[in-house]
């Protein structure tokens, strides 16, 4: 507004000129950069969907024409690099004082800034750190010059995504979910901001609760390019699942999304997909066997034997069964709408470790302290033989878990 006023006064009447010359020159803001921000945001203006494209966001983050987003770690001081020009519309002092008042009591101040002939660059640091919470903040800073110069514009506006730590991006380019983009950062912050916790296990638990079940069948509601339910695609991997929460996905996809959010926000801890199963030939099915899905995606129960000329296959069954009884294919819907028992190779869960504490988060199956307890997601371990129409006959019950 001062800038407008200055322009209006750029052609004053002749008798006003002496007074105008005594008026302080306008301090015009030209650019603001945030050196302490992460400088990792990509694809700020290009529509790349959920993909990671290393298209840098414009720098500096703020100019009079452009108000770009930044991301910054909570609990750290916010550094500002401000470029201004002292206009020739009034008295030009050799030094000026500058103040900035931002949200959450973030204040910037620098006195006796020596003014250059053309543009002046000044570094400022917030008087206090950014509050310790994950949030999307309107970083509106009102600028003023206590030395008397009008500042134009009076306010700079940016969006700041406040994260727990510096985003982890060392797998960008070869892990679909890795890499910081505006769309991903915005989604990650919006999901975690509302949790109002900074405990990594609390965050993981809440994120997993968004997916109370997993899905093994492609959903017609999810565009085919995303490859629901596996989310093996070149469109951002598991990130699009955040648009189709109701449709869920395979457990490994849920874990990939949760892990991606944690890495986007620099949440400490390690998240991995763990496959857990039992084997009739190992401790009578009582011992939990496990493998990390990223190391061995084909891991799981794979045991068969031949008994009296009939092939038996070991399986983990999710509801009660009886020896000698034939069942239709997994999860066949009976006339009453009830599903038949399903037979499985493993239970997939998210193994999250932080600060020496490890927990296993099952896709809707609860939180477990040990791998053995994950087996309780099943009714038991059984031997089955094939029956017509992809059904199975229960030959033997090896172990019951509840």
């Amino acid at each position: 507004m001062n800038h407008t006023r200055a322009r209006r006064r750029s052609a004053p009447a002749a008798d006003e000129r002496p007074r105008e010359a005594e008026r302080p020159a306008t301090l015009a803001l030209r650019a603001i950069a945030f050196p302490s921000s992460h400088h990792l945001l990509k694809a700020c203006s290009d529509d790349v969907g959920w993909r990671y494209e290393p298209l840098p966001c414009p720098a500096p983050a703020w100019t009079p024409e452009r108000h770009g987003p930044i991301s910054h770690t909570m609990g750290e001081d916010l550094d500002v690099a401000l470029t201004f020009e002292l206009m020739k519309d009034g008295r030009r002092p050799e030094i000026v004082d500058l103040r900035g008042d931002g949200p959450a009591a973030l204040r910037f101040a620098r006195n006796a800034i020596r003014v250059a002939n053309d543009v002046t660059l000044v570094q400022l640091k917030s008087g206090r750190p950014i509050p310790r919470r994950v949030a999307k903040v309107s970083l509106d800073i009102r600028w003023s010059a206590p030395s008397g110069e009008p500042v134009s514009p009076e306010q700079s506006e940016n969006v700041a995504y406040v994260t727990m730590g510096r985003p982890e991006v060392d797998q960008a380019g070869f892990v679909q979910e890795d890499g910081v983009t505006l769309k991903r950062m915005d989604r990650a912050v919006s999901w975690v901001e509302s949790l109002r916790t900074l405990r990594p296990h609390g965050i993981v638990r809440a994120l997993m609760e968004r997916f109370p079940y997993y899905s093994l069948r492609p959903s017609p509601k999810v565009p085919p390019k995303y490859r629901h339910p596996t989310y093996f695609n070149h469109e951002g991997g598991a990130w699009p699942m955040s648009d189709y929460v109701e449709e869920s996905g395979e457990c490994q996809a849920i874990v990939r999304l949760v892990r991606a959010i944690l890495r986007q926000l620099g949440v400490p801890g390690e998240a991995r997909t763990l496959l857990v199963w039992a084997d009739p030939d190992v401790d009578g099915g009582r011992k939990a066997l496990a493998a990390y899905w990223d190391e061995d995606p084909s891991a799981g129960l794979s045991r068969s034997r031949v008994v009296n000329g009939v092939r038996w296959i070991a399986a983990l069954v999710d509801s009660p069964v009886e020896i000698g009884k034939e069942y239709p294919a997994s999860h066949t819907i009976h006339d009453g709408g009830q599903p038949s028992p399903g037979i499985n190779r493993y239970e997939a869960c998210l193994e999250f470790t932080h600060d020496g504490v490890t927990r296993l988060y099952g896709g809707g199956a609860g939180i477990f302290r040990t791998r053995e307890s994950v087996l309780r997601a099943f009714w038991g371990l059984i031997w089955v033989s094939p029956a017509p129409n992809d059904g199975f006959k229960v030959e033997e019950i090896v172990a019951r878990y509840y």
Partner: protein, 222 residues
């Protein structure tokens, strides 16, 4: 006494025979043409699209090829629901018939007549077609030059009920002079397959989804 390998081979053979027979048993009049894939129940359409994207190279995918004619057979009783795509791709006339648990590819004899080739060229021709149409590099084992009635597969030791991926095992053969392949729609987490007669059943699909929501909650209470 059957050893494990023989039992597996026999069982896989029975399953493939049953699938081929299920397709053979459909009288031409039982195939109901569909002008638009949107006529298919949404769940079945999503599954078909997913598996075709998984299994076929883009150039041979019936969802990407031009001029595909389609037909369905709604199974009664325990007969499987089937979806058929007929089209030309990569210089081949293909007839793809999907069940809920399998995907069968017939290469029309008009575009490739395997038995008519010299014996020494047949295996290479089969391999070339597989490389052309499938997304995964499938390598079929041939005990002898493929002739009419031949059966072959990529890995006789891989268990179709336990495989972690469709690419772990695929079957093939020559019947009535026509080259065919069969791929298993394997879901890694499951042992075995879904109910083949409930593929086009929307109500069943809806109830199943509700069940999957409910089941973990039941488990977590215990």
């Amino acid at each position: 006494m059957l050893d494990s390998k023989h039992a597996l081979r026999r069982e896989a053979g029975f399953r493939i025979d049953a699938w081929l027979a299920a397709v053979d048993d459909v009288a031409p009049s039982e195939w109901k043409p569909i002008a638009d894939i949107a006529e298919l129940p949404a769940q079945a359409r999503a599954e078909s699209r997913y598996w075709c994207d998984q299994i076929f190279c883009p150039g041979a995918n019936p969802y990407e090829a031009p001029c595909v004619t389609r037909a369905v057979r709604c199974g009664a009783g325990s007969a499987p629901d089937l979806l058929r795509h007929d089209y030309a791709a990569e210089g081949l006339l293909l007839h793809v018939i999907e069940g809920r648990n399998f995907l069968l590819v017939h290469v029309d004899r008009k575009s490739l007549d395997v038995p008519a080739l010299p014996e020494g060229e047949r295996a290479a021709a089969v391999s070339r077609v597989a490389q052309t149409i499938f997304r995964a590099p499938l390598s079929f084992c041939h005990c002898a030059p493929p002739d009419d009635g031949a059966l072959f597969c990529t890995d006789a030791c891989a268990d179709p009920l336990l495989a972690a991926s469709w690419a772990e095992r695929a079957e093939g053969g020559v019947r009535r002079g026509e080259l065919w392949f069969a791929c298993y729609k394997r879901v890694s987490q499951l042992v075995g397959f879904w109910n083949p007669a409930q593929w086009f059943c929307d109500e069943g699909c809806g109830v199943r989804r509700a069940m999957r929501r409910a089941a973990p909650r039941r488990r977590s209470k215990r």
